[in-house]
């Protein structure tokens, strides 16, 4: 799969991102204007990076889960739980690092629980993660006792709204996480193992892969990513909102992963492209907002985009297109 670098840049996801940004620019001429103010960059594009970070972070974990032919519906609820943990601990007077580490640990524990259900009890991923999706928000409300816990801890707020070299902290965290996880799966054999499980779990196990262990780790990664996203979202609004933090973000994350070309049937995945997918979604959101359309159109545009992607990815269209351009790559075998 060694291809030219230029050809790699011209993949549909990046082209789509460029197209969405250009449409935004046509609708709102100041879209690309970036200013430097108070030691940080400002502008709509920076806003896309900043606002897209939570979904991008979720998409990193979700990509790995979907590559194993699973899905993690609980990430939004885990975000709420972890945001609640971080906020209540800071308010209770614990030092910020302790609160953040505790929140990350809770996210990891939630992920391990999902992994336990999927890998050890052999429960279908949708159902297994549905348990925490339903119960998670209740747990988060239990932690915050039904209130929106607000805090003023500068270190915690920095995670959500601070800046690093002028770039928003959230985007920097997402980028670092993406690089780390991509290196982990692409420079070691883990990525290959994940793909093997996604294609055929029984065969992968027979080939000597500890599929149970690996599945647990993949869901743990997803929970960990959700914890980071939850802390960022809580820090951004300086409060933990158990009801609305991360609401429906699991669907956005799945959408981002699908846009990134990862197959929902497992076996084929790309973490950087999933992050690009998250940015495409956010660029559309921001575009609809800055160009003055009512935000209700957001959902319809999203639906239209899913349908378009499904058409492009479907085997039916693939065969038709393959019929017309035989000279390009051979149709991917099933």
């Amino acid at each position: 799969m060694k291809r030219l670098h230029l050809e790699r840049l011209a993949n549909p996801q990046l082209l789509a991102l460029v197209a969405v940004l250009l449409i935004n620019w046509l609708l709102f001429p100041n879209f690309f204007r970036i200013t430097w103010q108070d030691g940080r960059l400002f502008g709509s594009v920076i806003d896309v990076l900043n606002r897209g970070a939570p979904v991008a972070i979720l998409a990193i974990g979700m990509t790995a889960v979907i590559a194993t032919k699973g899905v993690d519906l609980s990430v939004g609820a885990i975000m709420a739980v972890c945001g609640a943990v971080a906020a209540t601990m800071v308010v209770a007077g614990y030092p910020t690092p302790v609160a953040v580490i505790a929140a990350l640990a809770v996210g990891l524990a939630c992920g391990l629980w999902n992994g336990f259900l999927v890998a050890v009890l052999d429960i279908q991923p949708i159902v297994a993660t549905l348990v925490l999706m339903v119960a998670g928000r209740g747990i988060a409300q239990l932690i915050t006792e039904g209130y929106i816990v607000t805090f003023n801890d500068p270190a915690l707020i920095f995670i959500g709204t601070g800046s690093f070299l002028g770039f928003p902290m959230a985007a920097v965290i997402a980028l670092v996480l993406m690089l780390l996880v991509t290196l982990l799966v692409r420079r070691t054999a883990i990525g290959l193992f994940i793909q093997a499980i996604g294609v055929n779990r029984a065969a992968a196990s027979l080939a000597g892969i500890h599929s149970r262990m690996l599945l647990v780790l993949v869901y743990a990664l997803s929970g960990f990513c959700a914890a980071i996203a939850g802390i960022i979202v809580a820090a951004d609004i300086r409060g933990a909102d158990a009801n609305n933090s991360g609401l429906w973000l699991e669907l956005d994350a799945i959408l981002a992963v699908v846009i990134g070309g990862t197959s929902l049937l497992g076996g084929k995945f790309s973490i950087p492209l999933a992050v690009v997918g998250a940015l495409i979604i956010q660029a559309m959101n921001t575009g609809i907002l800055v160009s003055g359309f009512p935000p209700e159109f957001n959902l319809i545009v999203k639906a239209g985009m899913i349908i378009l992607i499904l058409m492009l990815q479907s085997p039916l269209v693939g065969t038709v297109m393959g019929f017309f351009k035989r000279d390009t790559r051979q149709a991917a075998p099933k």
């Binding site: 899905v71 259900l117 009890l121 052999d122 429960i123 279908q124 949708i126 159902v127 297994a128 549905l130 348990v131 925490l132 999706m133 339903v134 119960a135 998670g136 928000r137 209740g138 747990i139 409300q141 239990l142 039904g146 029984a202 196990s205 027979l206 000597g208 599929s211 149970r212 158990a242 669907l251 799945i254 959408l255 699908v258 929902l264 049937l265 009512p294 209700e296 159109f297 957001n298 959902l299 319809i300 545009v301 999203k302 639906a303 239209g304 899913i306 349908i307 499904l310 058409m311 990815q313 479907s314 085997p315 039916l316 269209v317």
Partner: protein, 325 residues
């Protein structure tokens, strides 16, 4: 007892035990009034859950249910209150629109060969977005027909009331049970959920059945939306957010396997009643906060999933797992 009925029996027994425990604590819960309200308050959820049962038995999932309920409510309210349609005409239009919507999802799922999960996710965005584009506000419905239907109640001894929508839900469940177990369509649905490849080899019309399943689910969701609008006398674009999760929970608790091919419509009824019981108990208790509902439903889901695994592992010895290395 037939082995395949065990999960259904387990759910029913657990419901009875839970109800008995609740009654032991709050004797007031054993009244026809509470039982009547069980039916009325969960009518829209129950109707939507019948459609979801069929989808899940066929091996799919329908995430658009809640959004279709919201959309139907808004559509009906706008047709009646703004455009002066008669409610029955508005209902017919809403059911027709939903049937087309479901058919479109079924066509996409079958012909583009994409997981139902992602198609119905798009459907959810589309329906919810469509409802929000029509109106952002809650549209009240003041029509004689609505008050006439609200007055249609059967009084039971002990102060209980069987409302029209509660009875409608029971009727839909009976219809669903007949459809699942006594018709050709029903056996097609089970065959499809068991194994789509062998189903199509056996001559099951896979395309037609898939489309019909999603049509059924969306139409019943629209009926649930109509019931919801009768219940609240209004249409609101953000109504019934997350009802699809409650419906899926009810179906799973009712003993239907999410892998497809196995399940009961009447089990879903018990599932819906169990969810209703949890809510009623928390209201009766008064000191428990509303978020306990979610936690308890999550715990119930977990228990039933594990229970299903245990029952299936015990009753149908599966082939050796290759992973126990």
């Amino acid at each position: 007892m037939k082995r395949s009925l065990r999960p259904l029996a387990a759910t029913a027994v657990i419901f009875l035990i839970a109800y008995a425990l609740s009654v032991a604590q709050f004797p007031g819960m054993l009244s026809t009034r509470v039982l009547g309200n069980f039916l009325t308050d969960n009518a829209f959820l129950g109707i939507a859950a019948v459609g979801m049962t069929f989808v899940i038995i066929s091996g799919g999932i329908d995430l658009s249910v809640g959004a279709v309920i919201g959309f139907t409510g808004v559509l009906v309210a706008v047709l009646i209150s703004w455009l002066g349609f008669h409610p029955l005409a508005a209902f017919a239009i809403a059911l027709g629109v939903a049937a087309l919507f479901g058919a479109a999802m079924g066509v996409t799922i079958h012909y583009l060969q994409v997981p139902s999960f992602i198609v119905t996710l798009a459907g959810m965005f589309l329906a919810r977005g469509g409802a929000s584009v029509i109106t952002q506000d809650s549209v009240p419905i003041n029509h004689d027909f609505y008050s006439a239907i609200s007055d249609l109640i059967i009084r039971l001894p002990g102060g209980g009331r069987l409302s029209f929508i509660g009875l409608l839900m029971v009727a839909v469940f009976l219809f669903g049970a007949l459809l699942a177990h006594r018709t050709r369509f029903g056996s097609y649905v089970y065959a499809l959920g068991g194994n789509p490849v062998s189903a199509s080899l056996m001559g099951v019309p896979v395309a037609r059945t898939t489309i019909q399943i999603y049509m059924l689910s969306s139409t019943l969701a629209a009926l649930a939306g109509i019931v919801f609008s009768l219940y609240t006398s209004a249409g609101y674009p953000l109504a019934a957010v997350g009802v699809e999760l409650d419906a899926i929970s009810a179906v799973v608790i009712g003993g239907t396997l999410l892998t497809g091919g196995y399940g009961f419509v009447l089990g879903t009824f018990v599932g819906v009643m169990l969810l209703g019981l949890v809510q009623t108990y928390i209201i009766f208790d008064g000191t428990l906060s509303s978020w306990w509902t979610k936690i308890v439903i999550g715990v119930l889901l977990f228990l039933f999933i594990v229970l299903q695994r245990v029952i299936f592992a015990a009753s149908a010895p599966r082939e050796e797992q290759p992973e126990k290395v």
